[in-house]
Each structure stands twice: as C-alpha cells, then as structure tokens.
Amino acid sequence: MNWRWVVAAFLAAFAVGAMTAAAMGQEVIQDSVTVTVLERPEIVVLQGPDRAYRGDRLTYMARALDPDGNPTLAFLVWSVSDTSVAQIVSVTDSTATVEARAVGTFVVRVEVGPLDSLRVGFAGDDGTFAWEGEIQIEADSLIYAEPWEEGGGGPFPFQEYLKAYGLLYIQACALFYSGDQPWGFSSHEICYPAYAGTFGAPDAPAGPLYRLAVYGAREALSGGGLTLLAALIRSSPPVDRVALRRMLL
C-alpha cells in the first residue's frame, strides 16, 4: 500500500470537512467524512488456455488482487505479442477473447493498473465526455500499416496503430462527423449511453459496444475525412491531449 494515498485520503477527509464548514460560515463542533481507501492492485491472476488450434476462440480471465485480500479496483489492459498469430476480438471488464488465426506461438498479456493511472481527459465516471472541441482529421494523415485503398487495405489495423505510438491499449469513445454523416467510434461499452442515438442505428450491436472495436471507421474514413467532436479516451500508458492530437493529425 502506498502510504501517500493513505495520508492523502486522511487529509482529503479533513479538508472537505474544513471547507464545508468555511462555506457555511458556522462553527463546526463535530464532523466526519468516511473515506474508503482501496489498496492498489499488486497481484494479477490470468487464467486461460495455453494450447489451441487455428480458428479457436480462447477466453482469458484476469483478476486483480490485493496481497492482503482487501478490495481493489483496477483496469485491465490486454495485448497479444504477435497479431499475425492471434488477435483480441473482444474484451469485457474481466475477460478477453482471443482468436488464434495462424499456426505459431503468441503471448497473451494482461496489465493491471489503478484506474486513475490510465485515465486521460476524463472528467468523471458519469459518462460525460471531457474532451470537446472539433479536430479535423484527414484520412490520409492517419497512420496505417498499409496504404488505404478503396475496397481494399483490410480493416483498420488497430493493434499496429497502437504499436506505432508505443501504446499498449486505448479505449476510445468518440463521435465523428464525416460530411453530414455522424459516425460513432467505440471500443468500450461506456459509449453507449452517451451516444445511443448514433451507436444504436442502423447496425446496432446485439451486445455491449465493446464487441465492435472499430465501429464504422472504415466507411467513415473512406469518405475522405472526419471531424472529431467529442471523445473519451483512456490509454496505457497515458497520453496527454497534445500527444493525442499529434497521433490523430
């Protein structure tokens, strides 16, 4: 347990009480605030198959544990070492499904970090989008593993895109416009309540939105450009707004 967080939580409780008292302009005789201090996750347990046939879909489950058995809260970041052999096809809060696509060997890896270390440009947990403002993205300026070609080029090379920027993972929830057409771009289910109207039609996923890692991006990009209106982005390692803008432009 990081002692700074314990002390900080204690002081935060004291400060909240002090500021409340000051704001109300009255003498406080007794006040208290209950603060729950969570242990940082220090152990990650990963379970899943270590052998497979080509074409199999493998489900891995990870849990973050505190060594003392105390409650903890964590954010799982999944990756595979060789995307030519296997690719992550979906993730949930605790599992990842990996499809074995070629004969060979790969390593499935999960990283667990505290939520705050992986949050970028995010105001809170209420689904609001913290980053609002228009950024025009030209299709040609995006980084691709292979040049984009109409009717070809394959799906958006998401893993390669992350690798190119040294990222292990990025959760992006954004609303784009391509011309007059809105396009959602989602890799996480938290996008759904915020932009249900956009994500809900016409190809609404049956399950949570994270099943569609890239939603409509191919069609939108083929339109020649995108306007990023709002985004919620979590990544590992964290990227700041400037770095993110550099990635996108």
Binding site: N2, R4, W5, V7, A8, L11, A12, F14, A15, A18, M19, A22, R40, P41, E42, I43, V44, V45, L46, Q47, G48, P49, D50, R51, A52, Y53, R54, G55, D56, L58, Y60, A62, A64, V77, V85, A86, V98, A100, A102, V103, G104, T105, F106, V107, V108, R109, V110, E111, V112, G113, P114, D116, S117, L118, S236, P237, P238
Partner: protein, 127 residues
C-alpha cells in the same frame, strides 16, 4: 491550520510517485496448431484401410495427425473396424495403433478406418 493541511494535501498529490503508474502484469504463452484433418502412419494398411500384411499376428504402428498444410498437429485417434466381425481387433493408445489378427479368414474384407480428432486440453485452472 486548514490551509496548511490543504498545502500538504496538494504536495502529496503531486509528489513524485503519487500518481505514478503501478502496473502489474501476467502472461500466458500459447501454442497454436493447425486443425487435424489427416493421418500419416506406418501401419500395414492401404489408402482404404485394408490390411496389407497378415504376419505377425500383432502389429503396432505409429499414427501422426497432420493439418491442412501437412504439418504435425496434436490429436487423438479413433479406429473403427468395418467389414466382417471378429477378424481383427484394433486399439489406439496415444499415437500407437495395435492391430491384432484374430482369424486368418475374411481379413481382406476388413477395413480399419482411422480418424483424427482434436484434443480437448484441460484448462490450466483445472476447470
């Protein structure tokens, strides 16, 4: 006093390491094989599974499962006997086929059909 506390709080929040990313990780190495679709063997059987040699009476041979590219792949094997009954006994243990000839008549009508099946591996967590 309360401003002192606030100052201490701010200093702690921005202290080196306070917000540092403390990431733990775990890995599993996964081996991927091709799906078993064919069998290579050194058994005295022709391409239709008919027995080609009647001596010795007990023969053991090795089975190898191959994927669509002709590469070895792990598999289990099923041996099925077609034709006259009571002439041959076939048993498979791991990748070894044992053929026991029980009678000398009717053997040409017997066919040994070998089929590969994918291995169902136990999960590492025992589930």
């Amino acid at each position: 006093m309360r401003w002192l506390m606030l100052l201490a709080l701010a200093l702690l929040a921005f202290a080196p390491g306070a917000g540092a990313q403390e990431v733990q990780s775990a890995e599993i190495e996964v081996i991927v094989w091709g799906y078993p679709v064919a069998i290579a063997h050194d058994c005295p059987l022709d391409e239709r599974g008919r027995i080609q040699s009647y001596a010795p009476l007990v023969v053991t041979c090795t089975l190898r499962a191959l994927d669509i590219d002709g590469l070895w792949t792990p598999a289990t094997f099923v041996a099925e006997l077609l034709g006259p009954e009571g002439r041959v006994e076939a048993t498979v243990a791991d990748s070894t086929l044992t053929l026991s000839l029980l009678a000398r008549t009717g053997l040409p009508g017997v066919r040994v059909v070998l089929t590969p099946a994918p291995v169902v591996w136990p999960r590492p967590d025992g589930g």
